[in-house]
Amino acid sequence: MSIRTEPVTINLGPQHPSTHGVFRLRVTFDGETVVDVDPVFGYMHRGTEKLAETRSYVQIVTLTDRLDWVSSMSNNLAYVRAVEALCEIEVPQRAQFLRVIAAELQRIASHLMATGFLVNDMGAFATPLMYCFRERERILDLFEILCGARITLSYMRPGGVFQDAPKAFWDNLDALMKEMPIYIDELESLVTTNEIVLARSKNVGVLTAEQSINGSLSGPMLRASSVDWDIRKSNPYEIYDKLNFEVPIGKNGDVFDRYLVRIKEMRESLKIIGQCVDMISEGPVRADVPYNIRPPAGDIYSSIEAPKGELGFYLVSDQSISPYRCKIRSPSFMNLSLLREMLVGWKMSDLIVILGSVDFVMGEVDR
């Protein structure tokens, strides 16, 4: 005798505790197993790209803050680099160092948040999440000292950064650099060797190297699938070619590897910040750029390695004060492109964990 079963379709989201925003998944389950996935985007479409066409080049910096709100610094950096490339602006050395320090701090903050939410999705009752937030809070405090805001920073400007860092920033940065490795060690001893975490994340949501290249993934997602691709190394921008750091690579491309890559990247970021603090020299922090920039006609694509992957800005200028077109290549959106390959065949609990391991932010997906 066989029992008659029916697949059941569930709307996971747009309001769901684990979809990290207003992301909707139409999932078809056979029992607990995922049979089909149909992602629905657009609940958070704010028209950033269109808005950029009516803003002046400096005003767009405030829009980029709101793309991926857990890594505003990296968004700012990606945008101002595109404008600088378009206008061929020479950026002072000290400004470049400051920008790299800020971006790497932001990378640590973003990865802390990704890790915390990943373990929270596995069901740890918010404890690793709160530990991660405790550490992230210190970085946000640093940003407040640096530029007066914690999340929507608007710190960088075409041609440099807005203000030089005050003395209190360097003192607090030194303290953070000393304590952060201890924090990461503690987080690792709580999570990395935990057998339940291993059982939930090893060999779950595997993407092969070929698949992830074909899906144009980037960032920790790609590197976890053992593809050595980091724009900081392969196409060094700012001062990354002067710095000595490693790019962590995963083995299997599963959830655990993505987690591990992020943990290792945090350690590498600390190394980078340490080198920057040693190498930074006095000087101006902002090139002489007019408040209203009118770039020469032309177009440019410039990308950086944001915490979540390759963040690129494609700007078209028609010599007016605002860009003719501003296309954003956002890593969160691209990383979600292989959702079906990752999810189909796994249980409902795995679905949540895999979604958590992608580490997407809806503000960036819908733009």
């Binding site: 803003r55 002046s56 400096v58 005003q59 910096v61 405030t62 829009l63 803050d65 404890t127 709160m130 530990y131 405790r134 809070e137 405090d141 407040e144 000292i145 640096l146 530029c147 007066g148 805001a149 929507t152 608007s154 807005f162 203000q163 030089d164 005050p166 209190a168 503690e186 001893s189 709580l190 999570v191 990395t192 060797t193 935990n194 057998e195 339940i196 975490v197 291993l198 408040y291």
Partner: protein, 223 residues
């Protein structure tokens, strides 16, 4: 060995439970409950001698009935909600309104004919900043050619109605002059800290050194 990781996790959480140094730096704005230990420390005394002298207070704080004000120590660069505006410096050029990405600043001016030391100036009839839509990017401050508008450092602008969030010219005039040092980091080196209640007058805020009296005479009287 298998199972060791689970035990390691338990040890980590227990360490966080028993060591107070691993807490968040928590500020329970606007006030927090205080223990006898903290209360005696506030008064600069030993717990035991303080407890013997004030047994009622000791007992009350032990029961958690005494609270003291608590506020986050904020950076002087903190971009707050209350805008600081110097009417002596403002000429009514409306650069701030033009450069605001959201267009939330509304300025209506009329010719005043009043002569001021540098240049002509408009009388400002309306200066509305709708902080309900403001995102505190500070581009208006950056755009101001006369350093008249600055980000404030307060954050207690909560109201019951959205229309109360519009800061008009009277409120701007009467607001405490506590600008954020985000646009003028030079003020930090002078020891200015808006958190401690310092105020900055209009002639200290400018981006140039204040001219000495002889310089002004050279410029204005002897020409």
């Amino acid at each position: 060995m298998y199972g060791l990781g689970l035990l390691k996790g338990l040890i980590v959480t227990m360490k966080n439970l028993i060591s107070p140094g691993r807490m968040f730096t928590i500020h329970q704005y606007p006030d927090r409950k205080i223990s006898p230990l903290g209360l005696s420390k506030l008064e600069g005394k030993n717990v035991i001698s303080w407890g013997i002298n004030n047994p009622v207070k000791f007992l009350k704080s032990l029961l958690g009935l005494i609270s003291v004000p608590d506020k986050i120590a904020q950076s002087p660069r903190f971009r707050g909600q209350e805008f600081t505006w110097y009417e002596q410096r403002c000429t009514g050029c409306a650069s701030c309104a033009k450069y605001c990405p959201l267009g939330i600043i509304k300025i209506v001016t009329s010719p005043s004919g009043k002569a001021v030391p540098e240049g002509q100036k408009y009388a400002i009839d309306v200066f509305d900043i709708d902080i309900g839509r403001c995102m505190f990017c500070g581009l208006c401050v950056e755009a101001c050619p006369y350093d008249a508008l600055h980000m404030g450092s307060g954050f207690e602008e909560g109201t019951y109605q959205r229309k109360d969030l519009v800061i008009n010219v009277d409120r701007l005039k009467s607001a405490p002059k506590k600008p954020s040092t985000w646009f003028r980091p030079q003020l930090e080196e002078l020891g200015y800290d808006p958190d401690s209640g310092d105020e900055i007058t209009w002639d200290q805020i400018g981006r140039h050194e204040r001219p000495s009296l002889s310089d002004q005479e050279d410029k204005w009287v002897k020409r």
